[in-house]
Symmetry: C2
Subunit: 349 residues, 2 copies
């Protein structure tokens, strides 16, 4: 019998956003790795690739030509997961087990810049501010379409995250329904707000700032931290200090501060294993259903798969799929390691 | 405006076990793939590998020697995610956001047979029956330990599923708490049973057998099907026809029938892309908390990642992590393709 030591002993942590538990095995980082190694692209990319379907002026899969764009560039996804067609549908209530509903939506691709070789951490602040403006415009435009109630902005970075083109880009999937994970988050945010009249994340952020242990970067308007309940080894979340629901609520100062923290965080990521750090990231914000959402608090998630090096990732497999998410190093340790990374990109040294 | 066609139009389906929605994009299977290709092990494995830490008689990472075992063989995981130590813990209720609890558990490895090269589909029925006996024994032994309330039996197959040793083996993680996914499942099963006095899965199975569309294999005691709400391209579930809660409830006939359907299903998987088909699989069954669980219905999930070929997998990334699971071909189509696969293993022809 010994006293609980959260830094050493296996334990579960509670995620109040998704309302679920996570298994943490601090000691397990020590196990040797004999499994699969990821391949990494080490070749430097050209500034422009004539065969890339995202580069300015080139031809896309559907035969259309990209304009000679000079900052960020948005187009409709040629292989969208949802379609805009309105579908006639009558729910068949006899179906207890075969419940299905048509879903309307729009998918877009956001090229971050004309440069084939410039990832977020390598861009200048004003280039990142341009992306933020594009996200704001898309959130507004898509959100104002009558049947669109949710706009998911995200990026898959790196081939290990299913990204099929190295030209830096993100995606936007806008749709009628609130996606599963967003709905769970909203339920938690709402329950908290109804009870406390403050957003869950504003109070959480206070508690994190007070503790300091999981903070990675802080500026006047945003904080990047490893959530107490993070599942990926170097998972982070960027939170706004001020409680507001959506990207279009940014002041000009907040937009710049957000661009800066994005650059700093992704630079630290790249410096961690001296590699273009793969991740999926995305913004969670108020739905565009026309209702007031005082419970929503703007935040961005980063889910990076790497665990020990540029080639060894964490596998979320058997136990994780059937049981629950499990992590091998503590969020506190990960935050410490990320804090120690330089904010100067390794390639620029 | 057109009428809803579930085989063609994007839609969402409801998973009554996890109580969540899934996005289905039937048309999306057509998009070209330019992304990451998985590497596959094509070399034939030896029957015995002197460097393998799972082969009979060999030395493990912790310095211990494996016995010269002749059927299946179980040992304690040297790098367990949980520990057996009892931990003194007083919940700190001040912590709204930093909720953590120590977790006690035991992890074991189950080598399927002495043969380094024999995967499930390549084993004889009596060898598979041996594995089932081992699972039954472990469920009983671990389950009877006072602090163990749940026994998760699973297999990670293939390096793409984080498996670090090709010697065919599964794992068992037994622990105090009900893991997140199991708890969700139990809540759904219980709500249904309380209302209908039948298990959810026994009624679901009736509906599936009546429809026939998603059935892959049926024998006297078990059915393998692609669930209506499957997220992985070739996800399947094996269900018992009789409603019982746990693997130790098998009759002798059921054990043989289960061995047979396991062999048939995994053979079809291998034949699909002429490869040793990777997956994570696992059994969901009644917890070992000493209570009656009439709501539980024994079933086994198979979550295989491959989408189009032995080297192209489905990535559950950005939208899937932040929004909801999304699939590119319909479960009906997948079931049809699996049904068409031979039950004779491609290697034996
Ligand atoms: O226990 P193993 O085989 O070392 O590890 C594998 O399975 C575990 C349970 O699903 C995962 O947590 C690991 O990420 C995976 O590599
Ligand atoms: O849309 P892409 O880049 O073709 O595809 C990528 O992102 C999608 C959204 O997360 C995933 O569904 C795909 O599995 C992945 O390969």
């Amino acid at each position: 019998m010994k006293n609980f030591d959260i830094n050493e002993d296996p334990h579960r942590r509670f995620n109040p956003l998704l309302n679920e538990w996570v298994l943490v095995s601090p000691h397990r980082a020590k196990r040797p790795w004999q499994g699969q190694n990821e391949t990494i692209a080490t070749e430097a990319l050209p500034k422009y690739d004539p065969t890339c379907y995202l580069c300015p002026g080139n031809v896309r899969a559907n035969g259309m030509n990209n304009p000679k764009y000079e900052s960020s560039f948005v187009f409709e996804n040629d292989f969208a997961a949802m379609k805009q067609d309105e579908i006639i549908f009558e729910e068949d209530i006899k179906h207890t087990f075969f419940k299905a509903k048509p879903e309307q939506g729009i998918s877009r691709v956001v090229c971050f810049s004309p440069r084939h070789d410039l990832t977020l951490p390598e861009m200048e602040i004003d280039g990142i501010e341009n992306i933020i403006k594009t996200w704001q415009k898309e959130y507004t435009d898509l959100g104002s379409i009558k049947y669109i109630n949710h706009v998911q902005i995200f990026e898959n970075k790196g081939s290990v995250m299913g990204c099929s083109n190295p030209h830096p880009h993100g995606q936007i999937w806008a749709q009628s329904s609130l996606p599963t994970q967003v709905e769970k988050t909203q339920n938690s945010l709402k329950a908290y707000f109804d009870k406390n009249n403050r957003t869950l994340l504003e109070d959480y952020l206070q508690a994190e700032l007070k503790s300091g242990e999981r903070i990675v970067i802080e500026n006047d308007h945003f904080v990047a931290l490893v959530p107490f309940w993070a599942i990926w080894p170097y998972e982070t979340m960027i939170l706004s200090k001020r409680a507001f629901g959506k990207i279009t609520d940014f002041t000009a100062e907040e937009a710049t501060a957000f661009a800066k923290i994005l650059k700093q965080l992704t630079t630290k990521y790249d410096n961690l294993f001296n590699t273009s750090f793969p991740y999926s990231s995305g913004i969670h914000q108020a739905p565009t259903d026309g209702l007031e959402h005082p419970e929503w608090h703007f935040h961005m998630h980063f889910y990076p798969p790497l665990l020990r090096s540029a080639t060894v990732k964490k596998f979320m497999v058997g136990y994780e799929m059937l049981g629950e998410s499990q992590r091998d190093i503590t969020p506190e340790k990960s935050a410490e390691i990320l804090r120690q990374q330089s904010e100067v990109h390794y390639k620029s040294i």
